[in-house]
């Protein structure tokens, strides 16, 4: 992490990927932390330069809670990605948690804790189903979680009757108010970053998750219970998604059946932009959280420029592509591969 050089500072987001010729080893070291941090700092500087209104305190106040909610969901996604999977049921899980959390807490005269417990129990069930189908039934994660997501949206539809649900006052109050000048939603997400970051890097569980994601067979050969570890990743992921769903419910006050959907793709994008590799193994929780902040500020900037949705989508796609590209490729290698693939083999 001390390996950052001047080359990185010039690598502003959306401008150009770093094209340094560092050796593979030192480059890998740098990827761990640098790109997303510099990209994010660069983005804020850019925002301040071209549209100061996008970084004033009102704008930041409006953006941060959403960044926090996305960060919590993306952290859950990171856990699953570490196990060499992906979880598309993030959408359905968030929605269901938002609906159940709201509904139940309201029904109990606003007792949030009972609501939370029930939401957590549901998350454990969802994660277990995902994990068991992936690990024991050996279904591709993409397919398993896609199918479960369909089911969950069905359950959400049934549960809410298709109508928006009103979150209890206490939840909304909590989500909207601030502690020491910082939004509670943001504080909760910071707590998640710290807990999950600690759990993945310092606990036996996190290290085992890393090993299983890196090589399931190798981990199993030395006594790790690969399938159980995988299931635990999906359960932990679902717990994060549910927490994000409850936060969302509090923040928007009236969650509906579609609430979680808009988090599906960004949660995956934040993981990748944050510098995580999709082949499993080590996870960078802080990177993911910063990635979520990056994506949220990007939308904020584009919105504040008054651009239409179309431009917003195009700019976001381009920036995500560049941010990922900056991590996965060196320009020289790209050129070589392109040349190699275009060169027609000689034939008689």
């Amino acid at each position: 992490m001390a390996e950052t050089t001047a080359a990185d500072e010039t690598a502003a987001p959306a401008a150009e990927p770093p094209t340094d010729e560092a050796s593979g080893f030192s480059r890998r070291l740098r990827i761990k932390l640098a790109p997303i941090w510099w990209s994010t700092i660069g983005l804020f500087v850019l925002s301040w330069t071209i549209q100061p209104d996008s970084v004033n305190s009102t704008a930041i106040d409006a953006m941060l809670p959403f960044a926090g909610i996305l960060a919590v969901a993306s952290i859950g996604q990171t856990l699953v990605v570490m196990s060499r999977g992906v979880d598309l049921s993030v959408a359905g899980t968030m929605t269901l948690a938002a609906l159940i959390g709201s509904n139940y807490a309201t029904g109990q005269g606003g007792n949030l804790w009972v609501g939370f417990l029930i939401v957590a129990a549901v998350a454990v069930i969802i994660g277990s189903v995902n994990g068991v189908v992936v690990a024991y039934a050996e279904v591709t994660p993409l397919v398993a979680t896609f199918a479960l997501n369909t089911l969950l949206v069905g359950v959400a539809l049934f549960y809410s009757g298709g109508r928006p649900v009103r979150a209890p006052e206490s939840l909304a109050d909590f989500a909207l108010s601030k502690t020491m000048g910082v939004s509670n939603t943001v504080l909760v997400s910071l707590v998640f970053v710290i807990i999950v970051g600690f759990a993945t890097s310092r606990t036996v569980w996190g290290r085992q998750l890393m090993s299983v994601g890196s090589s399931e067979r190798a981990a199993q050969a030395v006594g790790l219970h690969a399938n159980r570890v995988k299931v635990s990743a999906y359960v932990a992921g679902a717990l994060c998604f549910s927490a994000a769903g409850v936060l969302l419910a509090g923040y928007v006050s009236t969650p509906n059946v579609g609430s979680g959907n808009r988090y599906l793709l960004p949660s995956i994008a934040a993981v990748v932009v944050g510098g995580n590799s999709f082949v499993g193994g080590r996870g960078y929780i802080v990177g993911t959280a910063v990635g979520a902040l990056f994506l949220s500020q990007l939308s904020q900037l584009v919105l504040s420029l008054g651009l239409p949705t179309s431009a917003q989508l195009l700019i976001e796609a381009a920036v995500i592509a560049v941010a990922i590209g900056a991590q996965t490729l060196d320009a020289a290698g790209l050129a070589r591969r392109a040349a190699a693939s275009l060169r027609a083999p000689p034939r008689e």
């Binding site: 199918a147 606990t203 030395v222 193994g281 179309s310 431009a311 790209l334």
Partner: protein, 846 residues
């Protein structure tokens, strides 16, 4: 000394004039890999009619050299000639056409293709059979081997045993009547009868005036069959001479480099033998049965035998990696090892022979690699103490002499020997009573080997027992206090004390195998072979979907007879056709092992573009141009997806997620709010029917059938499946995998564009969001249809029926008047069930 560039075809060997014409010539080859000079100035010439032995230690550069000859590895410098034709940088196909056939250590066969398809795919062009002939041709090629292995050419390679795969690879190579046949460690996987057949075929190749390059580390085998021998050491050619001029001793010396006696640590003196730690009674499992064994503290016990006699399976069963039944007692206590976790808990830890796939944790650092199994011992309440971990790992690394720049260096940056030392420290840190070491010095150079022997001895002396499986009798003789010999899955002899010598071990193993000659490897039961083949085939899911469709229809009819009316079908079937097009596209990319999330928004783009260029006022030429434009846009998007995923190498899921967002942006930019009109003439045409059957569904079904046939009956289709089945192997056999990937992405986008035309007919105006939902439903359709997201397998008819099932579910729910969520329950539930069932069918076939 240079040979003139004689242009001659491989089929006219007589033209070479003198008897020493060189069929294969490698000159001054250099190859550098990160961290290692794999080859330095290696020259090799192979003459007609000779068997050329190529020997050297693991990592000496043998396989790299062969790769250079076959053009699958690109040399940094140097030239290759086959029959006088320069081959530098030629495509592997060209090299093969020139007469070089190669049997790799890991046979280059594609798992998701049948035996016959594999043979057809890799045959040189002038020998390639037609699809009609392929099974017959394969059968005749395999005929010579029937005594060794009876292989049906229609079997998928993934269903073959390892030795059967090797037979296929050798038989295929010999059948090409190559000018040069390269065999890389050919006898490793063969039963004795197979070795006999192999030697007979080698003689035949030489009689035909071909040449054989025979790579092996079994020196006496090479000595007995080769005419000339070349020795590689550390990427350099150190010896090349006629076999008659060399003794086995000379060869060994030049392989090892210096006259180095591997130093083994002193053996155990009998008075130091501790109490019994491990007792095994009547243990049976796959590959071994009724094994009895006792191991005591302080001793190293070797398990010997010819490859594949059950010794490895026995060891893995103790480690919990394989099922077994019988009695296992550790320190006097009966234990059960249902899995590796249980084995570890009971004090048995396993060191794998397959460092790459079952040893190192790629992407993690050396400390994390070493610490994996021992984490709990540094943990308080589940939290690992970083300080204690670093301290213990560091101490272990020092003791083992691991050469690493730091504890945080990536495992892949270390040399093979040092990686193996990290694996050793992993099992040592786990502090077990029984260390199960499987080929502990595989791929380790001589110097590091001595260190590792010392480590094993020390481990035993420190209160454990060590059990070693090794194919190297000299290693077992030097290291072990006792050696048990396995044959045909049983322990047939036990040597101890002074009887533990290389000669005794080899002798016992060999005489034991003599009894094996009548023994053919046991095969799976083949009852109902046709039914089994069908159940495991890519077509099975389609057959499963048909009853599901019918049952759902009956449910709908029971509720409402309107279901059976042509009016209902005329509403329902166009929806099936629409989804089918998207499904066919998704199936295309999945066959290639990728996924395309952008199909939905691409259709949206196509529809909004159509609302501008295919307006009702447009004349026929404009209409045609507009349609062409839309297809060009589709192809361009497919190309973009290909560039991002295959060239830039972004995971296809992420890459097409990016294009998903971008296309949505484009669609909204073109038409922010719904509007515009699409040519009535065209939409009416698209809605035309024959009876109640929409023409478009007929087209979709015809396309599905055509694709299905093409996948199995055309060379292009076989190549596409090959590329999806295993990219690296496909490249080895000359498939241009990047081109296949481009084809699949462009085809997917084109199918999505066809789907978009269906949407135009339904909406008749521009809407920037109309297609988005089809991304996920297309995935649903192919998954229901049985696609494997790993590529190589799947069925276009399956995708068609999958689309039908999705629409059917939606219709049935409406007809029964069920709530909307039932659609989602049924789809989600069916998808999970289908995916799980297909997955189980595939893994537990036979």
């Amino acid at each position: 000394m240079t040979v003139a560039n004689r242009q001659e075809s491989p089929s006219t060997p007589a033209a070479s004039g003198d008897g020493h014409a060189q069929v294969l010539r490698l000159d001054g080859i250099y190859k550098h890999y990160p961290g290692v000079q794999a080859l330095a100035d290696v020259s090799l010439s192979v003459r007609r009619g000779e068997v050329h032995g190529l020997v050297g230690e693991n990592g000496a550069g043998k396989s790299t050299l062969v790769g250079v000859a076959a053009s699958t590895v690109r040399a940094d410098r140097g030239s290759v000639e086959i029959n006088g034709q320069p081959m530098d940088g030629a495509h592997p196909d060209v090299v093969r056409e020139a007469g070089l056939a190669i049997v790799f250590q890991e046979p280059a066969l594609l798992p998701d293709l049948t035996v016959a398809e594999n043979m057809r795919l890799s045959a040189p062009e002038h020998r390639r059979p037609t699809v009609r002939e392929q099974n017959e041709r394969a059968r005749s090629i395999l005929a010579d081997w029937r005594a060794v292995a009876d292989i049906d050419p229609r079997t998928y390679v993934r269903d073959l045993q390892p030795d059967e795969r090797f037979v296929v690879a050798i038989a295929r190579a010999v059948s090409e009547e190559p000018a040069v046949l390269v065999l890389d460690e050919p006898t490793e996987h063969l039963v004795p009868a197979g070795v006999e057949e192999l030697f007979r075929l080698i003689a035949e190749v030489c009689r035909r005036d071909g040449a054989v390059v025979y790579i092996s580390h079994r020196i006496h085998e090479v000595k007995s069959i080769a005419d000339r021998i070349s020795v590689l050491r550390d990427g350099r050619l150190v010896l090349a001479d006629d076999a008659d001029n060399l003794t086995e001793h000379d060869i060994v010396d030049s392989i090892v480099g210096r006259r180095l006696e591997t130093r083994f640590p002193p053996k155990l003196s009998p008075e130091d033998l501790g109490p019994e730690i491990l007792r095994v009674e009547g243990l049976s499992g796959s590959g071994f049965w009724d094994a009895e064994l006792v191991a005591r503290q302080g001793e190293i016990l070797g398990l010997a035998g010819i490859e594949g006699q059950g010794q490895r399976e026995f060891l893995r069963a103790l480690a919990g990696l394989q099922r077994s039944h019988g009695r296992i007692m550790v320190a006097g206590r009966p234990v059960r090892v249902r899995n590796t976790t249980a084995a570890m808990r009971n004090g048995m830890v396993y060191l794998s022979h397959d460092r790459h796939r079952e040893g190192i944790l790629p992407g993690l650092n050396v400390r994390e690699n070493a610490a994996t199994a021992a984490l709990p011992q540094w943990a308080t309440a589940g939290v690992v103490s970083a300080g204690r971990e670093r301290e213990d790992v560091g101490r272990e690394f020092d003791a083992l002499g691991v050469k690493t720049p730091s504890l945080d260096a990536g495992i892949e940056t270390l040399s093979g020997g040092n990686q193996q030392k990290v694996m050793f420290s992993r099992v040592k840190l786990a502090a077990s009573k029984v260390l199960l070491a499987d080929e502990p010095t595989q791929g380790v150079d001589v110097g590091a080997r001595a260190d590792l022997y010392g480590v094993l001895r020390e481990q035993a002396r420190d209160g454990s027992t060590v059990i070693v499986v090794s194919a190297d009798a000299a290693e077992l003789a030097g290291l072990c206090d006792r050696v048990a010999i396995f044959s045909r899955g049983r322990i047939v002899e036990e040597l101890s004390g002074d009887a533990v010598t290389e000669r005794a071990i080899t002798g016992a193993a060999l005489t034991a195998t003599a009894q094996r000659s009548d023994h053919a490897p046991s095969r799976r039961a083949t009852r109902w072979p046709r039914l089994r083949r069908l159940a495991a085939s890519d077509f099975a899911p389609t057959l499963a979907l048909i009853p599901a469709l019918i049952v759902l229809a009956l449910i709908a009819i029971q509720a409402n007879e309107f279901y059976l009316t042509t009016r209902n079908f005329s509403l329902m079937l166009p929806l099936v056709a629409t989804l089918a097009f998207f499904g066919l596209g998704q199936q295309m990319v999945m066959l290639n092992g990728a996924i395309d999330l952008s199909v939905g928004p691409l259709a949206s783009v196509a529809v909004v573009v159509a609302s501008f260029v295919l307006t009702p006022e447009i004349h026929s030429v404009g209409l045609a141009l507009g349609i062409v434009l839309i297809f060009v846009i589709g192809a361009a998007v497919g190309t973009l997806n290909w560039v991002l995923s295959t060239i830039v190498r972004i995971n296809p899921l992420i890459a097409t997620l990016v294009t998903f967002g971008a296309l949505q942006g484009v669609a909204l930019y073109v038409r922010p709010t719904p509007g515009g009109q699409i040519s009535r003439g065209m939409t009416d045409f698209l809605k035309s029917t024959i009876g109640f059957m929409p023409v478009t569904l007929i087209v979709a079904a015809a396309l599905a059938a055509a694709c299905e046939v093409a996948m199995y009956r055309t060379l292009l289709g076989v190549r596409l499946r090959a590329s999806g089945s295993n990219v690296l192997v496909a490249q080895k056999v000359g498939v241009r995998t990047k081109a296949m990937s481009l084809l699949s992405f462009v085809a997917a986008s084109t199918f999505a564009t066809l789907g978009a035309f269906m949407l135009m007919a339904q909406a008749t105006s521009g809407n920037a969001l109309i297609g988005n939902g089809f991304t996920l439903s297309s995935v649903g359709a192919v998954v229901l249809g049985g696609a494997s997201i790993f590529g190589g397998r799947g069925s276009f008819l399956g995708a068609l029926f999958g689309a039908g099932l999705i629409i059917q579910v939606n219709t049935v729910v409406q007809f029964r008047g069920w709530d909307r969520e039932w659609q989602l329950y049924l789809l989600g539930g069916l998808t999970i069930l289908a995916a799980a069932a297909y997955s189980k069918l595939r893994t537990h076939r036979g």
